[in-house]
């Protein structure tokens, strides 16, 4: 027989608020008592709370809300990087030391287009992957910019010494060129993809990656600020058509 907690019908944010305030008050009282009396009993109370919490920690499996992204991120079983046709764009594979990073786009019910990243290690044969959900762009905003021939950036990652910028290019783009690249930079474009139920939202997922310039030559540990600056330095790129002509309206 399985025991399931009754479902609460009250406003979730109000219930959470009440729980948090009670817990905060209780924690404050416990801390105050501990401070005043410094007894072992107060310590046991805290341990008791931890134990109760641990016992009730089992929850249902987590999901991203998009089955294909769950498969890409190996949320439920081995990662499936071929799941391009069911709710996600075809993943782009980016080689990295000891494995690959796959990036893919998906559409949400709230009208956003988001990217997901799935990190795979060559040495792990179980198919497990480490995943992450990147930035989201509102669908209409994306459509407007793509129609003007623009590249729309979604997220930037720093993996070891590799920088990876992920975005969206117009579906008619046959290539994306990096302007004024100071170091060798690679570009990958996924095949054109259109989310289900989103007419005129065709686009190509784009990944631009390089060896982060300062990190590639430095053996010292960079500061958090240095690392942040590196991934905020989005490359200047142009989407071009089959004949090499830029798609973006240069008169802007």
């Amino acid at each position: 027989m399985s025991l399931e907690a009754p479902k609460v019908n009250a406003d979730p944010l109000t219930v959470i608020r009440s729980q948090l305030l009670q817990a905060a008050q209780a924690a404050r009282i416990r801390a105050h008592r501990r401070h005043r009396r410094r007894t072992i009993a107060a310590g046991l109370l805290t341990m008791g709370c931890l134990a109760v919490g641990t016992a009730s920690a089992a929850t249902g499996d987590f999901t991203t809300g998009v089955a294909a992204i769950d498969r890409l991120l190996s949320v439920d079983g081995p990662a499936d990087v071929q799941s391009g046709s069911m709710g996600t764009s075809e993943p782009i594979a980016i080689p990295r030391d000891g494995g690959r990073l796959y990036v893919s786009a998906y559409s949400t019910d709230s009208g956003a287009i988001c990217v997901a990243q799935s990190l795979h290690s060559d040495s792990d044969t179980s198919g497990a992957a480490e995943g992450g959900l990147g930035g989201c762009v509102q669908r209409q905003e994306l459509v407007d910019k793509l129609q003007r021939g623009e590249i729309v950036w979604a997220t930037a990652l720093l993996l070891d010494k590799q920088r990876i910028f992920v975005g969206y290019a117009p579906s008619v783009a046959s290539d994306v060129r990096v302007r004024q690249a100071k170091i060798p930079t690679s570009v990958k474009l996924a095949p054109a993809w259109r989310p289900d139920g989103a007419p005129q939202t065709d686009f190509k997922v784009l990944a631009v990656y390089d060896r982060a310039p300062e990190l590639a030559t430095s053996n010292s540990t960079p500061s958090d600020d240095d690392l942040t600056a590196l991934v905020q330095d989005y490359p200047m790129v142009d989407a071009v058509d089959d004949e090499g002509h830029p798609l973006r309206n240069r008169s802007e």
Partner: protein
């Protein structure tokens, strides 16, 4: 009179260390934004609500580490949200560490309750979008990217071929015109 209403978010977090009511005000200002952050990324609403609870539990358990001089309160809040989302993805289940630490029991909500919270968010979102339509294109685009999509200034600046300072100014100008009824996300 709510004596915390006039305090900025970072002041509320500093006060939270000694006063639970300051936390209540911070929660009231930001809970919907955090919930929207998760729903916007496509999470099922049960998980989005669960993660929202986890984020604010983490605010309570780690607020003593918050340093206002290192950045705005909302940046700290959304760093927690992103971290909780990453951990949940990595482990295949909704992260619960902070709630366990606080001794919070798990709560399961009815479909009706979840419908209501979604409706509230939809309503506030609708107001935002309607208001955005009244702004000039440059400001609308900046506010949209920053407030609705939750993107960082530098990323928006690179995309819109402007400096981060210019984008920041457009967002501030746009929010001022909207009477600041739309809250800014980090």
């Amino acid at each position: 009179v709510n004596r915390y209403a006039r305090l900025a978010d970072d002041q509320l977090l500093v006060q939270t260390r000694d006063d639970v009511e300051a936390f209540a005000e911070f929660y009231d200002r930001r809970a919907q934004d955090v919930l929207r952050f998760f729903l916007w990324r496509g999470l099922p609403r049960e998980d989005a609500v669960d993660l929202t609870a986890e984020v604010f539990a983490a605010v309570l358990t780690s607020v003593h580490r918050y340093r206002p001089e290192r950045g705005p309160a909302t940046a700290w809040l959304y760093a927690i949200a992103r971290n909780k989302l990453s951990k949940s993805l990595r482990r295949g289940r909704v992260e619960r560490a902070a709630r366990i630490k606080l001794g919070l029991a798990p709560v399961s909500f009815s479909d009706e309750a979840l419908d209501r919270v979604e409706e509230q968010l939809d309503a506030s979102q609708q107001v935002s979008v309607d208001q955005l339509d009244a702004l000039p294109p440059a400001e609308r685009s900046a506010v949209q990217a920053r407030v609705i999509d939750g993107r960082d200034y530098e990323g928006i600046a690179a995309e819109q071929r402007a400096t981060a300072a210019a984008i920041r100014q457009r967002v501030q100008r746009g929010l001022t015109k909207l009477g600041k009824t739309v809250r800014e996300l980090p």
